[in-house]
Symmetry: D2
């Protein structure tokens, strides 16, 4: 079967990771990436041999001056693709959507765009099958992905009477040197926050309320969860075991001495190969508690990478490349060196 031709439009935090991930899949091929201006990231794209198409108001002269070869305007990339993964900055995706529609190419959007940009909102564990044959799909944001994955485990096994999550958000990504605060906490005055409704684009009936604060770190988000279960398990051990058996969950044991996100990302940096990313929901055995019908758990979410495998699975669902979500996840995770349970 012919490989699906994938274009990645936008080569920032998410785009560069999706591009790498596409090249590692057995059933996909990367036709190029869209980039506005030369930069160290464009240099890396060139080193990896990715065709660079000029996006936005970029100019060929700028790339030429930098000594970076380009392959044409981004429209040419779009025309040559079966699907475009749009990784443009927030809100720009909506403009781009018109182009994709005009070109008759399928498209995947990121969670920074509103839900109505696409036919459906996607999470591989939760609703893979609903994405089959879609023309447009939206992969939900990093925080929503983390919550949707957790719900995919909790809802079917123990039921949810009510779910509260406080999202402690990183203020900037590691390479963003112009964002703060340097010292302080900034509450998000949206009560409850938009994350709950966003989770319901995937689990329409889930009773979940979320709140958020922004804190001065670049590494990961942390979710503080309190779930009242309908059919609670005997103890935390059952919950831990279930999470450990599920794809895209990583649990740290106490003997590993992983106290918080600094060590989680150190663990990611110690990966034998690939990017220093943590594409799984990260939990701690010591950070799961069951007390009657109350389930408490912390989870850390690597905002830069958690949606990357989801984008890959979305492609596979749209093009019928896998029999099931589980099959797609297994293929994706093997390709990306994400350990399988």
């Amino acid at each position: 079967m012919a490989k699906v031709k994938v274009a990645v439009n936008g080569y920032g935090t998410i785009g560069k990771r999706v591009a790498d991930a596409v090249t590692l899949q057995p059933d996909m091929v990367l036709v190029g990436i869209g980039k506005t201006r030369p930069s160290f990231e464009a240099r890396r794209a060139a080193e990896r041999g990715y065709p660079i198409f000029i996006a936005g108001n970029g100019s060929k002269a700028d790339f030429d001056a930098a000594g970076l070869a380009t392959a044409g305007p981004v429209d040419a990339m779009i025309a040559s693709a079966d699907v475009v993964v749009d990784c443009a900055p927030e809100k720009v995706g909506r403009e781009n959507a018109k182009k994709y529609l005009a070109a008759g190419v399928r498209a995947i959007f990121q969670g920074g765009e509103k839900a109505d940009i696409a036919e459906m909102s996607f999470n591989a564990l939760a609703n893979f099958d609903r994405a089959r044959d879609r023309k447009t799909v939206r992969v939900v944001s990093c925080n929503t992905t983390g919550l949707a994955r957790a719900a995919s485990v909790i809802v079917p096994h123990w039921g949810v009477t009510a779910w509260e999550a406080t999202i402690v958000r990183r203020a900037a990504d590691p390479a963003e040197s112009n964002r703060g605060p340097i010292n302080g906490i900034v509450p998000t005055f949206e009560l409850p926050s938009h994350h709950g409704p966003d989770v319901r684009t995937i689990f329409p009936d889930l009773r979940i309320a979320t709140t958020a604060v922004v804190v001065p770190t670049t590494l990961m988000h942390v979710h503080v969860n309190h779930v009242i279960l309908t059919r609670p398990p005997a103890d935390a051990g059952a919950v831990i075991a279930r999470f450990r058996q599920t794809a895209r969950f990583h649990l740290f044991a106490p003997w590993e001495h992983v106290d918080g996100t600094p060590q989680v990302m150190e663990y990611a940096r110690d990966r034998p190969n690939g990017r220093p990313d943590m594409m799984e929901n990260v939990l701690w055995d010591a950070g799961v508690r069951v007390d009657g019908s109350d389930l408490y758990f912390f989870q850390a979410i690597h905002q830069e990478s958690i949606v990357v495998p989801e984008n890959i699975d979305a492609i596979r669902a749209m093009f019928g490349l896998a029999e099931s979500g589980a099959a797609s996840i297994a293929t994706t995770d093997r390709a990306l060196s994400i350990p399988t349970p």
Copy 2:
């Protein structure tokens, strides 16, 4: 009536503020402070004219070498006082308690000590009268004080069916240069956290569950609260109005452009006089939401100063210096330039 003679044993973050606060009260006199070694803080104490008594394993020679006059060993200070406010580092208070008992002097302990160190745990809004004539009282910690104050408003007016609070904790105080993390979030693997039970030392029947994470900031803690009310008010306006009418609450309006703790502490630095402290629970009008029986609100807690007026009120309760909690609070807050509603 003779003023109550107050000694402050330990002159760190809390002790130095309590000492200043004592000197501003009309019915108290500061007999001295206990300090282990010379430091810039001892220098400031000397500049303010506070008698310095040598505590712990401190030596007079060290103070002499620094040119700081001392008034004797800490035991002399204890012997001369009606009450000692113990502000020693966590756990040291328990050792000191023996001394106070032996000297027959009353004592106030801080919330870093366990509840059984004293006859009762104290919060001025909640249980002032219970502290009358006590020999030993424990002022609860900064986070517990913040929650107890909020409960003092919420419980009587609207009732609490269930309360969830996530405490986003500052990792270090501003002058602590050897504590981290510099970049990362560290969950507290105690689920629920000890803050809930600590609030119940004051509100024994309150159904409250708390969780905590540590983040890289020095300014303030932030509490993310979700309370299910028994008799909810019509809207957030009623809650905001009630908080605004209560002593030791400060609410910021949207036009003040106070986005988070950096601006809260800037507001404190702009005080016309006194320390750049925020002794009130800090809320935002925009950060209060009522949705049916659900009340959401953020509150910021200045860990360095919030317990200071509580220590003053505790003294007043123990020695019968005020007819009521409200009367004591009014006296304290006027003396400390805390605006009264």
Copy 3:
């Protein structure tokens, strides 16, 4: 003699401090402050009783809605003043300068503006007399002020063959929650940096070369100085003694346990009254070294406040209110509770 009528146009970090400082002087009166929009800082101005004039594109309706009384447009304030201290954001001062000129009012500008905005660049220790009877004066920036003060001590006593300073800059002020980096160091690619030439607006012949990096802190800048002296003193003790005898220098002794800027600002917060500011150049006895003709010293500079007394002295020089720089400095520092040597 009639007090000089001072207007402060711009009420941010510097403006609010200059306004407070003016109100404390025996020979000046504050006619008002210029502010664009209501904010917590405008609220504090109102609490202090400062007349608020509406600047820039501000609207009276906005202040009315906030319940803050206003005194008219900023032009009215300018017309009523003998001198305007311009504390508008960088570059805006140049626009404002036209207004001041048209109104025939004298003006003081801050160091964020280029030197040619005024007749001279000013530092009280260095060139007070040159500001006499000027119509326009520019108070140099915080870093330049720190270097100029140090040069005022070093140049006359020991001579400077060559001076190197690396300026380790704070990335944001404490209340700026939208500036970074959160984690990282950003070199200033201007080699040498503009600070050296700016010092030469005051010491034209000084051989000084400066470099700068930006680091993720909000508290203070730190200068790392290496000066080759023409007539070196016997040892560091002579240098320390000289700095200690000079106004606007503060030196910490080893026994004070002040390891870095966190404790310096804690010391400032422990001030008996006034803002938690450190208007002096801060040095450490342990951070001064003389080795032959080489003088090394660290100094910390509180970017928010160091220029405040300089603005006051500039007014006094322009209006002939003091016989000498030393006399003005003594008056200013007494009023601002800056310890005098």
Copy 4:
């Protein structure tokens, strides 16, 4: 020729990187790593198949409980090796040295140990040949390595009349969550700092004076250099070209938009394979300036990895595995995917 058998004693920041690097060399084999207790890092070692030997006061029972296989006590590892690379925490190396001597095994120590721990101090560009046939070698610290590499370029080409460097140090490594400061700058009260004398263990006659401050970042150190050259080149272009032609230097061009260390480490994270490390001295074209005989340049030093290739070269020198430093460097860098000029 038989491969050299290398043991790595200590598996922290440096040790784990050296172990990985050894396994990638054509002429070396890793016989094991010494580790005190189970941890996530030990887990990674096990995943990579490295034999784990129990060091210090570690116990086999702890590793067994964690499910991590061990290969015996660290003494067994030492006995089986041709050379031990000691990567124990600072000061522990001196204790370990006795063991290595007793076992008759050669040893390499890190720069945290004093110079007299070994026969010589090493840097591959500077003095590879001096390490031939040595029994003990000390690889200098990260900062000294960075300065020694730069001196290896500057000294022979243009001569050094005097060199000043201010070292802006990271306060903690990324995974250290208990070190601060979170907000502040801490000067190093050692004037000049020990780095200058440490560089002279390699360049005995170099006139270099260094100073240091600690800042709240985890990513990299930055050196601010000012060198007075004896035979200056015509312009910065000549210096940039020379650095670009030298192994283990990486220069960023302006079009790459690398403003500071956040983007440098992002560039490292974008490596096609291997750890997200930057083993080269990092400079910026825009951060090099020549003005007469004055050379200014910034360089960023990745404290975690810069000494890794140096340890490899030290082994090769000690065992005569390469004809020259240049040959060894070429082999090492190819194996570690460090680009060669």
